[in-house]
Amino acid sequence: MKDYRKNMQLALVCFLLVVVLNFFLPRLLPGNPVAYLTGFSEQDMTPAQVAFYEEALHLNKPLAAQFGFYLRSLLDGTLGYSYKKDAAVSALIGEKIGYTLQITVPAVLLSAGIGLLWGLRCGYKKDSLADRFSTTALIILNAVPTFLIGLGLMIVFCFQNRWLPYTGLNSPEAVRGTAGYVWDRALHLLLPVGTLTLAALPSRYLLVRNMAASASDGKDILYAKQRGLSDSVIRREYLLRSIAQPFLTMLGMSVSLCVGGSVVIEKIFSIGGMGSLLTEAVYTLDYPLMQGILFVTTCIMVLSILLTDFLCLLLDPKRRSEGKG
Protein backbone atom coordinates (compact mmCIF):
# COMPACT_ATOMS: atom_id res chain seq x y z
CA MET A 1 0.00 0.00 0.00
CA LYS A 2 2.77 2.35 0.99
CA ASP A 3 4.44 1.92 -2.38
CA TYR A 4 1.34 2.81 -4.30
CA ARG A 5 0.65 5.86 -2.23
CA LYS A 6 4.23 6.95 -2.79
CA ASN A 7 3.81 6.55 -6.55
CA MET A 8 0.70 8.70 -6.50
CA GLN A 9 2.48 11.38 -4.50
CA LEU A 10 5.35 11.36 -6.98
CA ALA A 11 2.94 11.67 -9.89
CA LEU A 12 1.34 14.65 -8.20
CA VAL A 13 4.70 16.30 -7.50
CA CYS A 14 5.62 15.77 -11.14
CA PHE A 15 2.36 17.38 -12.11
CA LEU A 16 3.10 20.42 -9.94
CA LEU A 17 6.58 20.63 -11.43
CA VAL A 18 5.13 20.91 -14.92
CA VAL A 19 2.67 23.55 -13.74
CA VAL A 20 5.45 25.61 -12.17
CA LEU A 21 7.69 25.12 -15.23
CA ASN A 22 4.86 26.25 -17.50
CA PHE A 23 4.32 29.33 -15.39
CA PHE A 24 7.91 30.45 -14.98
CA LEU A 25 9.35 29.64 -18.42
CA PRO A 26 7.91 32.63 -20.30
CA ARG A 27 8.48 34.94 -17.35
CA LEU A 28 12.11 34.12 -16.57
CA LEU A 29 13.58 33.71 -20.06
CA PRO A 30 15.36 36.72 -21.55
CA GLY A 31 12.96 38.79 -23.58
CA ASN A 32 9.56 40.25 -22.97
CA PRO A 33 7.08 37.77 -21.47
CA VAL A 34 4.36 39.39 -23.57
CA ALA A 35 6.08 38.06 -26.67
CA TYR A 36 6.18 34.54 -25.22
CA LEU A 37 2.63 34.54 -23.92
CA THR A 38 1.02 35.84 -27.09
CA GLY A 39 3.42 34.40 -29.62
CA PHE A 40 3.67 37.70 -31.52
CA SER A 41 7.08 39.25 -31.90
CA GLU A 42 7.69 42.39 -29.87
CA GLN A 43 8.71 44.53 -32.86
CA ASP A 44 5.41 43.93 -34.63
CA MET A 45 3.29 45.27 -31.81
CA THR A 46 2.38 48.86 -31.10
CA PRO A 47 2.94 50.10 -27.53
CA ALA A 48 -0.84 50.19 -27.12
CA GLN A 49 -1.08 46.52 -28.05
CA VAL A 50 1.72 45.64 -25.62
CA ALA A 51 -0.09 47.53 -22.89
CA PHE A 52 -3.34 45.77 -23.77
CA TYR A 53 -1.80 42.32 -23.60
CA GLU A 54 0.04 43.17 -20.39
CA GLU A 55 -3.26 44.10 -18.86
CA ALA A 56 -5.07 41.06 -20.28
CA LEU A 57 -2.34 38.66 -19.12
CA HIS A 58 -2.01 40.38 -15.70
CA LEU A 59 1.71 40.90 -16.31
CA ASN A 60 1.67 44.24 -14.48
CA LYS A 61 0.60 42.55 -11.22
CA PRO A 62 3.02 40.99 -8.69
CA LEU A 63 4.29 37.48 -9.46
CA ALA A 64 2.21 35.78 -6.77
CA ALA A 65 -1.00 37.30 -8.15
CA GLN A 66 0.02 36.19 -11.65
CA PHE A 67 0.47 32.67 -10.37
CA GLY A 68 -3.00 32.88 -8.85
CA PHE A 69 -4.48 33.88 -12.20
CA TYR A 70 -2.56 31.07 -13.89
CA LEU A 71 -3.85 28.48 -11.41
CA ARG A 72 -7.36 29.78 -11.90
CA SER A 73 -7.07 29.32 -15.66
CA LEU A 74 -6.03 25.71 -15.03
CA LEU A 75 -8.86 25.09 -12.59
CA ASP A 76 -11.65 26.54 -14.70
CA GLY A 77 -10.42 24.42 -17.58
CA THR A 78 -9.51 27.05 -20.18
CA LEU A 79 -5.75 26.42 -19.82
CA GLY A 80 -4.96 29.88 -21.15
CA TYR A 81 -5.76 31.67 -24.38
CA SER A 82 -4.09 31.22 -27.75
CA TYR A 83 -3.91 34.66 -29.35
CA LYS A 84 -2.59 33.18 -32.58
CA LYS A 85 -5.71 31.06 -33.09
CA ASP A 86 -8.03 33.32 -31.14
CA ALA A 87 -9.51 30.51 -29.07
CA ALA A 88 -9.22 29.03 -25.60
CA VAL A 89 -6.45 26.43 -25.46
CA SER A 90 -8.72 23.80 -23.91
CA ALA A 91 -11.23 24.14 -26.76
CA LEU A 92 -8.44 23.65 -29.34
CA ILE A 93 -7.08 20.60 -27.55
CA GLY A 94 -10.51 19.15 -26.81
CA GLU A 95 -11.33 19.21 -30.49
CA LYS A 96 -8.21 17.23 -31.41
CA ILE A 97 -7.42 14.94 -28.51
CA GLY A 98 -9.96 12.32 -29.60
CA TYR A 99 -7.97 11.62 -32.76
CA THR A 100 -4.76 11.20 -30.80
CA LEU A 101 -6.42 8.81 -28.37
CA GLN A 102 -7.77 6.77 -31.28
CA ILE A 103 -4.16 6.10 -32.24
CA THR A 104 -2.52 5.78 -28.85
CA VAL A 105 -5.07 3.68 -26.94
CA PRO A 106 -5.18 0.80 -29.46
CA ALA A 107 -1.40 0.98 -29.86
CA VAL A 108 -0.78 0.84 -26.10
CA LEU A 109 -3.15 -2.11 -25.67
CA LEU A 110 -1.91 -3.98 -28.73
CA SER A 111 1.78 -3.58 -27.99
CA ALA A 112 1.19 -4.56 -24.35
CA GLY A 113 -0.88 -7.61 -25.31
CA ILE A 114 1.48 -8.89 -27.99
CA GLY A 115 4.55 -8.09 -25.89
CA LEU A 116 3.12 -9.92 -22.89
CA LEU A 117 2.03 -13.11 -24.69
CA TRP A 118 5.05 -13.35 -26.95
CA GLY A 119 7.49 -12.38 -24.22
CA LEU A 120 6.10 -14.97 -21.80
CA ARG A 121 6.34 -17.70 -24.43
CA CYS A 122 9.93 -16.85 -25.36
CA GLY A 123 11.07 -16.18 -21.82
CA TYR A 124 9.73 -19.52 -20.66
CA LYS A 125 11.51 -21.36 -23.47
CA LYS A 126 14.62 -19.22 -23.21
CA ASP A 127 17.59 -19.98 -25.44
CA SER A 128 15.39 -21.99 -27.76
CA LEU A 129 15.67 -21.22 -31.46
CA ALA A 130 12.40 -19.27 -31.52
CA ASP A 131 13.46 -17.19 -28.51
CA ARG A 132 16.86 -16.37 -29.96
CA PHE A 133 15.38 -15.43 -33.30
CA SER A 134 12.59 -13.21 -32.00
CA THR A 135 14.73 -11.56 -29.32
CA THR A 136 17.39 -10.65 -31.88
CA ALA A 137 14.74 -9.37 -34.27
CA LEU A 138 13.17 -7.18 -31.62
CA ILE A 139 16.52 -5.86 -30.43
CA ILE A 140 17.12 -4.70 -33.99
CA LEU A 141 13.61 -3.23 -34.16
CA ASN A 142 14.37 -1.39 -30.92
CA ALA A 143 17.15 0.49 -32.70
CA VAL A 144 14.87 1.66 -35.49
CA PRO A 145 13.64 5.23 -35.05
CA THR A 146 9.84 5.63 -35.11
CA PHE A 147 9.86 7.80 -38.20
CA LEU A 148 11.71 5.15 -40.17
CA ILE A 149 9.06 2.53 -39.28
CA GLY A 150 6.30 4.95 -40.30
CA LEU A 151 7.92 6.02 -43.56
CA GLY A 152 8.85 2.44 -44.45
CA LEU A 153 5.33 1.11 -43.88
CA MET A 154 3.90 4.03 -45.81
CA ILE A 155 6.14 3.42 -48.81
CA VAL A 156 5.35 -0.30 -48.90
CA PHE A 157 1.59 -0.10 -48.27
CA CYS A 158 0.62 3.22 -49.82
CA PHE A 159 3.04 4.04 -52.59
CA GLN A 160 4.46 0.83 -54.02
CA ASN A 161 1.17 -1.02 -53.61
CA ARG A 162 -1.86 1.18 -53.24
CA TRP A 163 -3.44 -0.95 -50.52
CA LEU A 164 -4.07 1.60 -47.84
CA PRO A 165 -4.78 5.34 -47.66
CA TYR A 166 -1.84 7.38 -46.47
CA THR A 167 -3.18 10.68 -45.25
CA GLY A 168 -5.73 11.95 -42.79
CA LEU A 169 -8.31 9.97 -40.86
CA ASN A 170 -11.09 9.74 -43.43
CA SER A 171 -11.53 9.94 -47.18
CA PRO A 172 -13.35 13.10 -48.25
CA GLU A 173 -16.22 11.16 -49.81
CA ALA A 174 -17.04 9.15 -46.65
CA VAL A 175 -20.35 10.08 -45.02
CA ARG A 176 -20.48 10.44 -41.28
CA GLY A 177 -22.53 7.90 -39.29
CA THR A 178 -22.56 5.07 -41.84
CA ALA A 179 -20.90 1.69 -41.60
CA GLY A 180 -18.72 2.68 -44.53
CA TYR A 181 -17.45 5.65 -42.53
CA VAL A 182 -16.34 3.42 -39.66
CA TRP A 183 -14.67 0.99 -42.08
CA ASP A 184 -12.95 3.91 -43.81
CA ARG A 185 -11.71 5.23 -40.47
CA ALA A 186 -10.41 1.78 -39.53
CA LEU A 187 -8.46 1.56 -42.80
CA HIS A 188 -6.97 4.98 -42.17
CA LEU A 189 -6.02 4.05 -38.61
CA LEU A 190 -4.37 0.77 -39.55
CA LEU A 191 -0.97 2.15 -40.49
CA PRO A 192 -0.60 4.78 -37.73
CA VAL A 193 -1.63 2.29 -35.05
CA GLY A 194 0.61 -0.34 -36.59
CA THR A 195 3.59 2.01 -36.58
CA LEU A 196 3.13 3.03 -32.97
CA THR A 197 2.60 -0.61 -31.95
CA LEU A 198 5.80 -1.67 -33.68
CA ALA A 199 7.68 1.22 -32.10
CA ALA A 200 6.45 0.40 -28.59
CA LEU A 201 6.60 -3.40 -28.88
CA PRO A 202 10.35 -4.10 -28.40
CA SER A 203 10.63 -2.50 -24.97
CA ARG A 204 7.53 -4.37 -23.70
CA TYR A 205 8.65 -7.65 -25.19
CA LEU A 206 12.22 -7.40 -23.89
CA LEU A 207 11.06 -6.50 -20.38
CA VAL A 208 8.57 -9.39 -20.20
CA ARG A 209 10.97 -11.82 -21.82
CA ASN A 210 13.81 -11.01 -19.41
CA MET A 211 11.56 -11.10 -16.34
CA ALA A 212 9.98 -14.36 -17.46
CA ALA A 213 13.39 -15.84 -18.25
CA SER A 214 14.72 -15.14 -14.76
CA ALA A 215 11.46 -16.19 -13.10
CA SER A 216 11.44 -19.51 -14.93
CA ASP A 217 14.66 -20.48 -13.13
CA GLY A 218 12.77 -20.41 -9.83
CA LYS A 219 12.12 -23.49 -7.72
CA ASP A 220 8.36 -23.00 -7.95
CA ILE A 221 8.51 -23.42 -11.70
CA LEU A 222 10.69 -26.51 -11.35
CA TYR A 223 8.21 -27.98 -8.89
CA ALA A 224 5.30 -27.16 -11.17
CA LYS A 225 7.08 -28.93 -14.03
CA GLN A 226 7.73 -31.96 -11.83
CA ARG A 227 4.05 -32.11 -10.97
CA GLY A 228 3.43 -32.48 -14.68
CA LEU A 229 1.53 -29.22 -15.21
CA SER A 230 1.25 -28.21 -18.82
CA ASP A 231 3.33 -25.36 -20.21
CA SER A 232 0.33 -23.13 -20.75
CA VAL A 233 -0.83 -23.57 -17.15
CA ILE A 234 2.66 -22.79 -15.87
CA ARG A 235 2.81 -19.68 -18.04
CA ARG A 236 -0.59 -18.46 -17.00
CA GLU A 237 -0.70 -19.41 -13.35
CA TYR A 238 2.93 -19.03 -12.34
CA LEU A 239 4.92 -16.79 -14.66
CA LEU A 240 2.18 -14.31 -15.48
CA ARG A 241 1.37 -13.81 -11.83
CA SER A 242 4.94 -13.18 -10.82
CA ILE A 243 5.55 -10.53 -13.48
CA ALA A 244 2.10 -8.90 -13.57
CA GLN A 245 2.88 -6.05 -11.20
CA PRO A 246 6.12 -4.71 -12.66
CA PHE A 247 4.57 -5.11 -16.11
CA LEU A 248 1.55 -3.00 -15.19
CA THR A 249 3.72 -0.32 -13.60
CA MET A 250 5.85 -0.16 -16.73
CA LEU A 251 2.71 0.06 -18.85
CA GLY A 252 1.39 3.01 -16.88
CA MET A 253 4.65 4.87 -17.20
CA SER A 254 4.93 4.23 -20.91
CA VAL A 255 1.57 5.73 -21.87
CA SER A 256 3.12 9.19 -22.00
CA LEU A 257 5.85 7.72 -24.23
CA CYS A 258 3.21 6.64 -26.71
CA VAL A 259 1.56 10.06 -26.62
CA GLY A 260 4.99 11.47 -27.46
CA GLY A 261 5.41 8.94 -30.24
CA SER A 262 2.08 9.95 -31.71
CA VAL A 263 3.50 13.43 -32.39
CA VAL A 264 5.87 11.84 -34.90
CA ILE A 265 3.20 9.55 -36.33
CA GLU A 266 0.63 12.30 -36.77
CA LYS A 267 3.20 14.31 -38.68
CA ILE A 268 4.04 11.43 -41.00
CA PHE A 269 0.45 10.44 -41.72
CA SER A 270 -0.90 14.03 -41.71
CA ILE A 271 -3.45 13.33 -38.99
CA GLY A 272 -4.92 16.40 -37.31
CA GLY A 273 -4.61 15.27 -33.71
CA MET A 274 -2.96 16.77 -30.67
CA GLY A 275 0.49 15.98 -32.05
CA SER A 276 -0.11 17.99 -35.22
CA LEU A 277 -1.49 20.75 -33.06
CA LEU A 278 1.81 20.75 -31.17
CA THR A 279 3.90 20.75 -34.36
CA GLU A 280 1.78 23.59 -35.69
CA ALA A 281 2.18 25.51 -32.44
CA VAL A 282 5.95 25.02 -32.70
CA TYR A 283 6.04 26.46 -36.22
CA THR A 284 3.79 29.42 -35.42
CA LEU A 285 5.45 29.96 -32.00
CA ASP A 286 2.10 29.65 -30.23
CA TYR A 287 3.51 29.30 -26.71
CA PRO A 288 0.25 29.15 -24.72
CA LEU A 289 -0.97 26.28 -26.90
CA MET A 290 2.30 24.37 -26.41
CA GLN A 291 2.08 24.78 -22.67
CA GLY A 292 -1.53 23.62 -22.69
CA ILE A 293 -0.53 20.49 -24.59
CA LEU A 294 2.30 19.78 -22.16
CA PHE A 295 -0.20 20.19 -19.32
CA VAL A 296 -2.73 17.82 -20.89
CA THR A 297 -0.03 15.22 -21.62
CA THR A 298 1.06 15.37 -18.01
CA CYS A 299 -2.56 14.88 -16.96
CA ILE A 300 -2.83 11.79 -19.16
CA MET A 301 0.40 10.47 -17.68
CA VAL A 302 -0.72 11.02 -14.08
CA LEU A 303 -4.08 9.41 -14.78
CA SER A 304 -2.53 6.35 -16.39
CA ILE A 305 -0.16 5.92 -13.48
CA LEU A 306 -2.99 6.19 -10.97
CA LEU A 307 -5.01 3.67 -12.98
CA THR A 308 -2.22 1.09 -13.20
CA ASP A 309 -1.40 1.56 -9.52
CA PHE A 310 -5.02 0.83 -8.73
CA LEU A 311 -4.87 -2.31 -10.88
CA CYS A 312 -1.69 -3.40 -9.09
CA LEU A 313 -3.51 -2.93 -5.82
CA LEU A 314 -6.32 -5.21 -7.01
CA LEU A 315 -3.79 -7.84 -8.12
CA ASP A 316 -1.74 -7.85 -4.93
CA PRO A 317 -2.70 -10.98 -2.97
CA LYS A 318 -1.40 -9.47 0.27
CA ARG A 319 -3.77 -6.55 -0.07
CA ARG A 320 -6.68 -8.81 -0.97
CA SER A 321 -6.29 -10.94 2.12
CA GLU A 322 -5.96 -7.82 4.29
CA GLY A 323 -9.24 -6.60 2.86
CA LYS A 324 -10.94 -9.87 3.68
CA GLY A 325 -9.53 -10.16 7.19
Binding site: L17, A143, P145, F147, L148, L151, M290, L294
Partner: protein
Protein backbone atom coordinates in the same frame (compact mmCIF):
# COMPACT_ATOMS: atom_id res chain seq x y z
CA UNK B 1 31.19 -18.54 -24.95
CA UNK B 2 34.25 -16.51 -25.80
CA UNK B 3 33.70 -16.93 -29.52
CA UNK B 4 30.04 -15.98 -29.30
CA UNK B 5 30.89 -12.88 -27.28
CA UNK B 6 33.44 -11.62 -29.77
CA UNK B 7 31.30 -11.62 -32.89
CA UNK B 8 28.99 -8.76 -31.84
CA UNK B 9 32.00 -6.75 -30.67
CA UNK B 10 33.76 -7.08 -34.03
CA UNK B 11 30.57 -6.24 -35.92
CA UNK B 12 29.87 -3.28 -33.67
CA UNK B 13 33.40 -1.94 -33.86
CA UNK B 14 33.46 -2.26 -37.64
CA UNK B 15 30.22 -0.34 -37.98
CA UNK B 16 31.39 2.29 -35.54
CA UNK B 17 34.73 2.58 -37.32
CA UNK B 18 32.95 3.19 -40.60
CA UNK B 19 30.81 5.95 -39.10
CA UNK B 20 33.79 7.47 -37.30
CA UNK B 21 35.70 7.55 -40.58
CA UNK B 22 32.75 9.26 -42.25
CA UNK B 23 32.69 11.76 -39.41
CA UNK B 24 36.39 12.62 -39.41
CA UNK B 25 37.24 12.19 -43.07
CA UNK B 26 34.10 12.61 -45.16
CA UNK B 27 36.28 13.22 -48.23
CA UNK B 28 37.27 9.56 -48.08
CA UNK B 29 33.75 8.42 -48.99
CA UNK B 30 32.67 10.98 -51.52
CA UNK B 31 34.43 12.96 -54.20
CA UNK B 32 31.77 15.69 -54.27
CA UNK B 33 31.84 18.69 -51.99
CA UNK B 34 28.85 19.55 -49.83
CA UNK B 35 27.51 22.36 -51.98
CA UNK B 36 28.14 20.94 -55.44
CA UNK B 37 25.03 21.39 -57.60
CA UNK B 38 23.64 18.85 -60.04
CA UNK B 39 20.29 18.38 -61.77
CA UNK B 40 17.44 18.10 -59.27
CA UNK B 41 15.88 14.74 -58.31
CA UNK B 42 18.31 12.51 -60.22
CA UNK B 43 17.58 8.81 -59.65
CA UNK B 44 20.04 6.34 -58.15
CA UNK B 45 23.04 5.86 -60.43
CA UNK B 46 26.72 5.08 -60.25
CA UNK B 47 27.62 8.78 -60.11
CA UNK B 48 25.00 9.51 -57.46
CA UNK B 49 24.68 6.51 -55.15
CA UNK B 50 21.46 7.83 -53.64
CA UNK B 51 20.46 10.30 -56.30
CA UNK B 52 20.15 14.05 -55.81
CA UNK B 53 17.65 16.08 -53.79
CA UNK B 54 15.28 19.01 -54.30
CA UNK B 55 18.15 21.52 -54.29
CA UNK B 56 20.36 19.42 -56.57
CA UNK B 57 22.81 18.27 -53.88
CA UNK B 58 24.12 14.72 -53.91
CA UNK B 59 22.19 12.84 -51.18
CA UNK B 60 24.97 10.39 -50.38
CA UNK B 61 27.39 13.29 -49.81
CA UNK B 62 24.83 14.99 -47.59
CA UNK B 63 24.48 11.75 -45.63
CA UNK B 64 28.22 11.38 -45.17
CA UNK B 65 28.63 14.97 -44.03
CA UNK B 66 25.66 14.60 -41.66
CA UNK B 67 27.48 11.80 -39.79
CA UNK B 68 29.80 14.17 -37.95
CA UNK B 69 26.99 16.33 -36.63
CA UNK B 70 24.82 13.38 -35.61
CA UNK B 71 27.69 11.67 -33.79
CA UNK B 72 28.77 14.93 -32.18
CA UNK B 73 25.34 15.69 -30.75
CA UNK B 74 24.86 12.08 -29.65
CA UNK B 75 28.26 11.68 -27.97
CA UNK B 76 28.37 15.13 -26.36
CA UNK B 77 24.90 14.92 -24.89
CA UNK B 78 25.63 11.39 -23.74
CA UNK B 79 28.78 12.60 -21.93
CA UNK B 80 26.76 15.36 -20.28
CA UNK B 81 24.09 12.79 -19.40
CA UNK B 82 26.75 10.59 -17.85
CA UNK B 83 28.15 13.40 -15.69
CA UNK B 84 24.69 14.50 -14.56
CA UNK B 85 23.52 10.94 -13.99
CA UNK B 86 26.60 9.87 -12.05
CA UNK B 87 26.50 12.99 -9.88
CA UNK B 88 22.81 12.78 -9.08
CA UNK B 89 22.95 9.01 -8.66
CA UNK B 90 25.76 9.29 -6.10
CA UNK B 91 23.98 12.15 -4.29
CA UNK B 92 20.78 10.08 -4.31
CA UNK B 93 22.52 7.23 -2.53
CA UNK B 94 23.40 9.41 0.48
CA UNK B 95 21.58 8.93 3.74
CA UNK B 96 19.55 11.77 5.17
CA UNK B 97 17.69 14.54 3.44
CA UNK B 98 20.16 15.06 0.59
CA UNK B 99 19.68 11.47 -0.49
CA UNK B 100 15.92 11.72 -0.20
CA UNK B 101 15.84 14.95 -2.16
CA UNK B 102 17.87 13.62 -5.08
CA UNK B 103 16.13 10.26 -5.01
CA UNK B 104 12.83 12.10 -5.27
CA UNK B 105 14.22 14.11 -8.17
CA UNK B 106 15.14 10.87 -9.96
CA UNK B 107 11.68 9.44 -9.47
CA UNK B 108 9.97 12.60 -10.68
CA UNK B 109 12.04 12.74 -13.86
CA UNK B 110 11.19 9.11 -14.62
CA UNK B 111 7.56 10.15 -14.97
CA UNK B 112 7.92 13.31 -17.09
CA UNK B 113 6.59 13.04 -20.67
CA UNK B 114 10.06 13.44 -22.15
CA UNK B 115 9.45 14.08 -25.84
CA UNK B 116 6.68 16.64 -25.35
CA UNK B 117 8.64 18.49 -22.65
CA UNK B 118 11.67 18.56 -24.92
CA UNK B 119 9.67 19.88 -27.87
CA UNK B 120 8.20 22.69 -25.76
CA UNK B 121 11.54 23.60 -24.18
CA UNK B 122 13.43 23.45 -27.48
CA UNK B 123 10.95 25.92 -28.95
CA UNK B 124 11.25 28.26 -25.98
CA UNK B 125 15.03 28.24 -25.94
CA UNK B 126 15.46 28.25 -29.69
CA UNK B 127 16.97 25.24 -31.42
CA UNK B 128 20.70 25.55 -31.88
CA UNK B 129 22.93 22.49 -31.63
CA UNK B 130 24.21 23.56 -28.19
CA UNK B 131 20.70 24.01 -26.80
CA UNK B 132 19.68 20.63 -28.13
CA UNK B 133 22.67 18.91 -26.55
CA UNK B 134 22.03 20.49 -23.16
CA UNK B 135 18.28 19.90 -23.27
CA UNK B 136 18.57 16.27 -24.34
CA UNK B 137 21.11 15.66 -21.57
CA UNK B 138 18.90 17.44 -19.03
CA UNK B 139 16.12 14.93 -19.65
CA UNK B 140 18.08 11.74 -20.29
CA UNK B 141 20.14 11.30 -17.13
CA UNK B 142 17.46 9.39 -15.21
CA UNK B 143 18.42 5.89 -16.31
CA UNK B 144 22.09 6.48 -15.55
CA UNK B 145 21.29 7.99 -12.15
CA UNK B 146 19.15 5.00 -11.20
CA UNK B 147 21.79 2.50 -12.27
CA UNK B 148 24.56 4.40 -10.45
CA UNK B 149 22.48 4.75 -7.31
CA UNK B 150 21.65 1.03 -7.25
CA UNK B 151 25.31 0.11 -7.77
CA UNK B 152 26.55 2.48 -5.03
CA UNK B 153 23.99 1.13 -2.58
CA UNK B 154 25.04 -2.40 -3.45
CA UNK B 155 28.75 -1.54 -3.02
CA UNK B 156 28.05 -0.07 0.40
CA UNK B 157 27.03 -3.50 1.68
CA UNK B 158 30.27 -5.12 0.44
CA UNK B 159 32.87 -6.24 3.02
CA UNK B 160 35.75 -4.25 1.49
CA UNK B 161 33.91 -0.96 1.96
CA UNK B 162 33.04 -1.96 5.49
CA UNK B 163 36.67 -2.71 6.28
CA UNK B 164 37.66 0.67 4.83
CA UNK B 165 35.22 2.27 7.18
CA UNK B 166 36.59 0.28 10.14
CA UNK B 167 40.13 1.31 9.18
CA UNK B 168 38.94 4.87 9.61
CA UNK B 169 39.21 6.23 6.08
CA UNK B 170 37.24 9.39 5.45
CA UNK B 171 34.02 9.21 3.44
CA UNK B 172 35.54 11.28 0.65
CA UNK B 173 38.49 8.89 0.42
CA UNK B 174 36.21 5.86 0.23
CA UNK B 175 34.01 7.54 -2.36
CA UNK B 176 36.85 8.58 -4.66
CA UNK B 177 39.29 5.69 -4.25
CA UNK B 178 36.96 2.73 -3.75
CA UNK B 179 33.43 3.47 -4.95
CA UNK B 180 34.24 5.43 -8.10
CA UNK B 181 36.59 2.85 -9.71
CA UNK B 182 33.96 0.16 -9.16
CA UNK B 183 31.40 2.22 -11.01
CA UNK B 184 33.42 2.20 -14.21
CA UNK B 185 31.66 -0.66 -15.96
CA UNK B 186 28.18 0.62 -15.05
CA UNK B 187 29.16 4.03 -16.39
CA UNK B 188 30.67 2.61 -19.58
CA UNK B 189 27.63 0.53 -20.48
CA UNK B 190 25.28 3.36 -19.57
CA UNK B 191 27.35 5.66 -21.77
CA UNK B 192 27.01 3.35 -24.76
CA UNK B 193 23.26 2.97 -24.28
CA UNK B 194 23.01 6.68 -23.58
CA UNK B 195 24.54 7.56 -26.94
CA UNK B 196 21.77 5.49 -28.51
CA UNK B 197 18.91 7.19 -26.74
CA UNK B 198 20.46 10.63 -27.31
CA UNK B 199 20.88 10.01 -31.05
CA UNK B 200 17.34 8.67 -31.22
CA UNK B 201 16.01 11.70 -29.38
CA UNK B 202 17.98 14.12 -31.50
CA UNK B 203 16.87 12.60 -34.79
CA UNK B 204 13.24 12.58 -33.65
CA UNK B 205 13.46 16.25 -32.69
CA UNK B 206 15.21 17.19 -35.94
CA UNK B 207 12.66 15.17 -37.89
CA UNK B 208 9.96 17.30 -36.29
CA UNK B 209 11.83 20.38 -37.51
CA UNK B 210 13.49 21.38 -34.25
CA UNK B 211 17.06 20.70 -35.35
CA UNK B 212 19.84 23.14 -36.03
CA UNK B 213 19.30 24.08 -39.68
CA UNK B 214 22.86 25.30 -40.14
CA UNK B 215 24.29 21.98 -39.00
CA UNK B 216 22.02 19.36 -40.57
CA UNK B 217 21.91 15.92 -38.98
CA UNK B 218 20.29 12.78 -40.34
CA UNK B 219 16.99 13.70 -38.71
CA UNK B 220 17.04 17.11 -40.41
CA UNK B 221 17.62 15.36 -43.74
CA UNK B 222 14.47 13.26 -43.34
CA UNK B 223 12.56 16.39 -42.37
CA UNK B 224 13.71 18.13 -45.57
CA UNK B 225 12.96 15.06 -47.66
CA UNK B 226 9.47 14.85 -46.22
CA UNK B 227 8.77 18.56 -46.61
CA UNK B 228 10.05 18.81 -50.18
CA UNK B 229 7.93 16.03 -51.54
CA UNK B 230 10.34 13.12 -51.83
CA UNK B 231 7.26 10.88 -51.65
CA UNK B 232 5.69 12.23 -54.81
CA UNK B 233 9.02 12.14 -56.63
CA UNK B 234 9.45 8.52 -55.66
CA UNK B 235 12.79 9.32 -53.99
CA UNK B 236 12.20 6.74 -51.25
CA UNK B 237 15.91 6.27 -50.65
CA UNK B 238 16.13 9.93 -49.58
CA UNK B 239 13.52 9.29 -46.87
CA UNK B 240 14.87 5.94 -45.71
CA UNK B 241 18.67 6.15 -45.90
CA UNK B 242 19.17 8.58 -42.95
CA UNK B 243 16.88 6.47 -40.76
CA UNK B 244 18.76 3.33 -41.68
CA UNK B 245 22.00 5.09 -40.72
CA UNK B 246 20.53 6.00 -37.32
CA UNK B 247 19.55 2.37 -36.89
CA UNK B 248 23.01 1.04 -37.83
CA UNK B 249 24.75 3.50 -35.54
CA UNK B 250 22.48 2.56 -32.63
CA UNK B 251 23.05 -1.13 -33.32
CA UNK B 252 26.83 -0.56 -33.35
CA UNK B 253 26.75 0.94 -29.86
CA UNK B 254 24.33 -1.72 -28.66
CA UNK B 255 26.50 -4.58 -29.93
CA UNK B 256 29.54 -3.18 -28.12
CA UNK B 257 27.58 -2.86 -24.88
CA UNK B 258 26.33 -6.43 -25.38
CA UNK B 259 29.93 -7.63 -25.42
CA UNK B 260 30.63 -5.66 -22.23
CA UNK B 261 27.77 -7.35 -20.34
CA UNK B 262 28.80 -10.75 -21.67
CA UNK B 263 32.36 -10.14 -20.51
CA UNK B 264 31.17 -9.06 -17.07
CA UNK B 265 29.14 -12.23 -16.71
CA UNK B 266 32.06 -14.47 -17.67
CA UNK B 267 34.29 -12.69 -15.15
CA UNK B 268 31.81 -13.10 -12.33
CA UNK B 269 31.22 -16.72 -13.26
CA UNK B 270 34.90 -17.64 -13.55
Amino acid sequence: MRKKGLLPLILGLLLLLMFALAAFAPEFFTSYSQKELFTKWLPISREHLLGTNAMGYDIFTELVYGTRQTLLVGVLSSILTLILGAGIGILGSFRGWIGQLFNGLIQIFVLLPKLITLIVLATFFGSSAVHLIVLIAAFSWVGTARAVRAKVLQLHTQPFIESCRILGYSRAHIAVRHILPNLSDVLLSRFLLGVNSCIMMESTLSFLGLGDLYRPTWGTMVNFAYKRGAFLRGAYQYLLAPGVCVMLLCLAFYLISLWLTARKETISEG
